[in-house]
């Protein structure tokens, strides 16, 4: 079964771009407009992703970060990548500046580096399991 990836972004153009790249590379993709939609989807076991790509500023300043905190606690096996316009500038909003375990990518979406990062994260998850 191909890895399942959840993508949350309120920008339809970004959603479409990511979806196109992932589908073409053989992944299953669920795109969500809001963090709540994504959290609700986690109730359904069949929809639980292997990796989540989260925007940071959806609806509010730090919706992405609070969602991350929530799902990381409940489902530690789900890998997370932050895809944000602000790149490293959001670091100060992470407590303790956790450089090791948070993966931040700056927009725009670049197919090659996005795929490389996703594969690396999934590999890491596979090794840990």
């Amino acid at each position: 079964m191909p890895p399942r990836i959840a993508h949350v972004d309120d920008d339809s153009d970004i959603r479409e771009s990511v979806q196109r790249i992932l589908l073409k590379n053989g992944y299953e993709v669920d795109s969500y407009l809001s963090m709540q939609e994504f959290i609700d989807s986690l109730q359904d076991e069949t929809k639980k992703p292997d990796l989540a790509i989260l925007d940071v500023m959806v609806e509010s300043m730090d919706a992405g970060l609070t969602t991350y905190a929530k799902i990381h606690k409940q489902y530690p096996q789900i890998q997370t990548i932050f895809l944000t316009s602000l790149g490293d500038m959001i670091r100060p909003y992470f407590e303790d500046g956790s450089h090791e375990w948070v993966c931040i990518m700056e927009k725009p979406v670049e197919p090659i580096s996005l795929m490389a990062t996703i594969n690396e994260r999934l590999k890491k998850a596979g090794e840990a399991a």
């Binding site: 920008d11 771009s17 790249i21 073409k24 316009s85 602000l86 790149g87 927009k107 725009p108 979406v109």
Partner: protein
């Protein structure tokens, strides 16, 4: 060749910030502890003075004998011993005992005041409670109590002082018939009843004086404390406002950059062939669009960076020890692709050292200077990045030299100004935002670094970042041989 040195001195606000971070109770505890240490030092000085006088007395005992003092006094030695033992006990309680209910800074201070008062009372008794002005030293204790304790606690101290002083006067004048030391010196002989009346009046006026001093100083101290509180409140509000301002800047940056990111994401899809084949002309046009959009994105991020650097109140602005080798290598890794695209080689030679800086800001500073060097380099040249350590003076320099367009002498003093525009530079680099070096300036200012710029138009520019206090890594030889990183495209 023109050369200019830049150094920006900024008042150090770090300590104020640290104080604001703690809650009020912690702050006052910190203040108490620093004052306890001051008292202890003060007491050591007092002990040293007493010891000096004691030695002086011993060596000149013959002369004193002639003055009429035949009896060798034992009390100064007792006072010296008590003060030394007490001082050691205070230090022990402060540094080696766990703070608890019975070992708080306030308890420590109370014990100090009581012991000091007892010692002072003994001194007053032997020197002369009514015949010398020694009793006025009690005022010192009242004033200190008013400054460091609450009004009520300082009142207790005042009452204690009055009580002790009264007891000493009573003992001297009503219980002991033998004349004190001072009367021996002064040779004043008053009649018994007149002396007693005088003592009572003296005691009465002294107690009044103590209460008046308590009232005045405690009022003053209340006013000062109220001001201190307002100041703290204001600092807190400023901090809060700065955090809000940063969030606002973040939001605006996000809103400005998001559309560009969406556009560039689509361009990337086309470039990578996700939307089918394109002609060469379309690809070239897209490349140009992407290039312009990219410059605009970096300008937007630079603006945010500049705003952030100005607000050093953010939690991230904490000084840490940084190894320069890893910091430089991190920057080089990041900038190698940029250098490669211009066929510029980055040559690195590092002498490692450790400096105390704000890590993120040091990286931004180095990154911006190197980016600048790459941007204004001619193609197929190199940028030399090296660090040199002055072991004798604990200083170090990082120099970044390019072989590019250089800076004209008249422009040199202005290059760190925000939005400074030089037509020559703009001709070379159309994407210049004019804030790269302002970012360097603010980062240097926040980290207390000096920058020297030497340049010759058409030949190149050298930026020297001077670190005035450095440390050396634990195990290190002299210059660490670093393989030259050559990023030229072959």
């Amino acid at each position: 060749m023109a050369s200019t040195e830049f150094s920006w001195n900024k008042p150090n606000t770090q300590s104020v910030l640290l104080e604001i971070k703690g809650d009020k109770l912690k702050l006052s505890d910190d203040v108490l502890i620093s004052n306890i240490r001051w008292f202890i030092t003060f007491r050591w000085i007092l002990v040293a003075t007493l010891v000096f006088f004691e030695i002086l007395m011993l060596s000149t005992s013959d002369a004193l004998m002639q003055l009429g003092i035949s009896e060798q006094q034992k009390w100064p030695i007792a006072i010296i011993i008590v003060l030394i033992v007490a001082n050691i006990a205070y230090i022990f309680a402060l540094d080696h005992c766990k703070p608890g209910k019975y070992n708080s800074p306030s308890t420590n201070l109370w014990i100090q005041i009581i012991v000091d008062l007892i010692c002072l009372s003994v001194v007053v008794h032997y020197i002369g409670s009514t015949s010398t002005p020694i009793s006025f030293f009690y005022v010192l204790h009242i004033a200190l109590a008013c400054i460091f304790f609450s009004t009520r606690e300082s009142l207790y101290v005042t009452i204690l002082v009055c009580f002790m002083d009264s007891i000493v006067i009573m003992i001297d004048n009503f219980l002991i018939t033998q004349a004190p030391l001072s009367t021996l010196i002064n040779n004043q002989f008053l009649s018994e009843s007149a002396r007693k009346d005088g003592a009572l009046i003296w005691m009465f006026f002294l107690d009044i004086l103590f209460f008046v001093v308590w009232y005045v100083v405690s009022r003053l101290s209340l006013i000062v404390r109220a001001h201190e509180h307002h100041l703290l409140d204001a600092y807190r509000k400023i901090n809060q406002a700065q955090v809000e301002k940063d969030q606002y800047a973040l939001l605006i940056t996000h809103q400005l950059k998001s559309p560009l990111d969406a556009i560039r994401s689509k361009i990337n899809l086309i470039k990578e062939g996700y939307l089918g084949e394109t002609t060469l002309e379309i690809s070239t046009a897209l490349e140009q669009i992407d290039h312009r959009a990219k410059n605009m994105s970096s300008l937007i991020l630079d603006l945010l960076r500049l705003e952030r650097l100005k607000d050093t109140c953010l939690d991230t602005a904490v000084f840490e020890y940084v190894e320069i080798q890893s910091a430089l290598q991190k920057c080089i890794e990041k900038l190698t692709p940029v250098a490669s695209s211009k066929n510029v080689a980055l040559n690195l030679s590092i002498e490692n050292f450790i400096c105390k800086v704000i890590p993120d800001q040091l990286e931004i500073l180095i990154e911006n200077i190197i980016t600048n060097a790459i941007t204004y380099s001619h193609e197929n040249t190199s940028v030399e990045i090296s660090s040199k350590v002055d072991r004798n003076n604990f200083r170090a320099n990082i120099t970044i030299t390019d072989h590019g367009i250089g800076i004209e002498e008249k422009d040199l003093p202005n290059i760190f100004n925000e939005y400074f525009y030089s037509p020559r530079a703009a001709l070379h680099n159309k994407a210049s935002s004019g804030i790269g070096l302002s970012i360097v300036k603010i980062a240097a200012e926040n980290n207390q670094l000096k920058i020297k710029v030497t340049s010759e138009p058409g030949v190149g520019t050298t930026f020297t970042v001077a670190f005035s206090t450095i440390e050396f890594p634990a195990a290190t030889g002299s210059a660490i041989p670093i393989p030259l990183i050559n990023t030229s495209l072959s």
